[in-house]
Symmetry: C2
């Protein structure tokens, strides 16, 4: 029985256009025209070539094509941590938009490491991607790409202000609204959990927080701005310390979803009731915030929309490299949930006492 079946045995080597041309009895040029649709080809010939290609299982070699055409249909996407839902949604939006526009995506997760980011940028240049969408962690990668004449769109945060396109949200305004919300509820000691100050996101969120305090005539107390690490554990540790201290705040504003998770876990571990004993608000609305009880008040960035917009922008830029740079600012909604409420009397007493 073996070898007796009619199953077609795949050939050792992949078919080339030359073989397709021979099978169809035409020249390579004609075969190319028949398959790509560029230039004149007689209808009968077109069909013959298409059929020959099918029978041989021919698939164009994108590299040979790009080499000749000196351009590719792929876009580099560089994110800091795919395991973080924000970046995953961003990448999903970018990927889908790219597919829709006929591009493929080269995705690299640089783990937030500047060296890896630079290596990724080099890989993108080597692969001659048509453009790059990146959530930068340093100025290095963008600089390198721009020097190499590769269109870049910075997403979420900016390092090369004005030198390239960008898609961001109104971090400062959103942070101000959230802080204002807490102040309006009666909070006077509002801590800000923040991982960094070097990025535009962190800086702007901090500024928005400060804006709101100032507008309300509240002091901007240094010890209430808590620098944390990058991951949940570090954030939790920082929050534990903060919440165990005598001058404990009545509200925490976490500058992103990871820090919010740390704060939430810390509060749970200390047995603090939210919102009675602690109000919690966050930047980045992720699913768990609407699943826990009470839900967590959060700034809802549409990461998927950011990814889509970034890809659209980079494709526009590829089409017109000379146009002036654009910065797209997307709005973000604040989802008010049960985690923010007026500080309780008891808490006020505790604070005073």
């Amino acid at each position: 029985m073996r070898d007796g079946s009619a199953a077609r045995v795949p050939p050792e080597r992949r078919a080339t256009i030359k073989e397709v041309a021979e099978a169809a009895g035409v020249s390579r040029s004609t075969a190319s025209r028949a398959l790509t649709g560029n230039g004149y080809v007689a209808e009968g010939v077109r069909l013959r070539v298409r059929q020959a290609a099918n029978e041989l299982g021919y698939v164009v070699d994108a590299m040979a094509r790009s080499l000749k055409q000196q351009s590719t249909r792929s876009i580099g996407v560089l994110v800091s941590d795919l395991r973080n839902e924000f970046y995953a949604n961003l990448a999903a939006g970018a990927s889908r938009q790219a597919t829709r526009l006929g591009y493929t995506v080269m995705l690299i997760d640089d783990q937030g490491i500047p060296e890896d980011e630079l290596a990724a940028a080099e890989a993108f240049v080597a692969l001659r991607v048509a453009g790059v969408v990146a959530t930068p962690v340093s100025a290095g990668a963008t600089d390198f790409l721009l020097r190499q004449r590769v269109p870049v769109v910075e997403v979420d945060r900016r390092f090369s202000d004005g030198a390239c396109d960008a898609v961001v949200i109104d971090n400062r305004g959103s942070a101000r609204v959230v802080t204002r919300h807490l102040i309006d509820l009666g909070h006077r000691r509002i801590a800000l959990l923040i991982d960094e100050d070097d990025w535009t996101t962190g800086r702007e969120r901090r500024e928005g927080y400060a804006d709101a305090l100032e507008a309300a005539g509240l002091p901007h107390e240094r010890e209430l701005v808590i620098p944390t690490g990058w991951d949940v554990e570090a954030a939790k540790a920082a929050a534990l310390e903060l919440l165990s201290s005598p001058g404990r705040p009545t509200a925490i504003f976490a500058a992103n979803n990871v820090l919010a998770e740390g704060a939430w876990r810390a509060a749970a571990e200390l047995g603090l009731r939210v919102p009675d004993q602690l109000s919690l608000a966050a930047f980045d609305d992720v699913p768990w915030m609407s699943m826990v009880t009470p839900g967590v008040t959060a700034v809802a960035q549409d990461a998927g929309a950011m990814g889509r917009a970034a890809v659209q922008t980079v494709v526009d830029r590829i089409a017109d490299p000379a146009a002036g740079t654009r910065t797209i600012v997307l709005s973000a909604a604040v989802q008010l949930r049960g985690s923010t409420a007026a500080p309780s009397e008891v808490e006020s007493d505790l604070r005073v006492g």
Copy 2:
């Protein structure tokens, strides 16, 4: 001042190895050897070439290289939905392992659509990826890739049993353990929320559920196996109907994290206390399950590890295309949390009455 700065103006066109060679005063062959490290090159010459390359901002054209070498250093990764944390973690693990092994990743999110999956497979072939890691949604893509002689590793679920390598977990065993756990707690009416039956994951989880019921001598009631849709809303709707019915189950086993989210939201909407009035267990342990109160008992698959293992497997396969196919079965731990407990007396009465 403008144009007076010493800033180097990037050249219009990218430098080629020919230009590097000329700048260093050697032939293209020598320049190539100096940069790649293959073959003999005098030390002084090597340095001269490297410097020339640096000064010209030379970056090798990966496409020209691959065309000549007839191989690439990139791997195609195909997932169903990057917004789902399971796939995001899988992709993150795959991406990082690929980077570690010197490969770049072409990522495509096929949205679970068979046509898109096939189109992605074609794109991978066109780009001549060295191998593909995929969470298949139909047999088509894998078949096509195998016919095209592209190494494929199926992850999470299988369509081409034995025809290619695979990385999966013990779905049946894990489902059995969870169901058994619910039975041991005293549950007799345990519903299974499941999205599909066509994939190995769904089938095996269902079998594990059935195994446990049978082993306990419990009837396998048809109306307790609930087919849901793919998204949270559909799952929630199905769960709402189930939980509002007179013969309502005392426990729900959700076959994945999306369905679990739907069930959780449904229970919350109906005001059912977990675990007093309803026990909930799930497949796929995602962060929210340990953040809500009570935590949700879940099978913890390490998606990142699956992605890593898949990439490792496909790279091994690239190295030895003739070796027999392997199926790697990773173990999954069951995280027991507060959402599963013995059914309350009141509930039992309700059920009887």
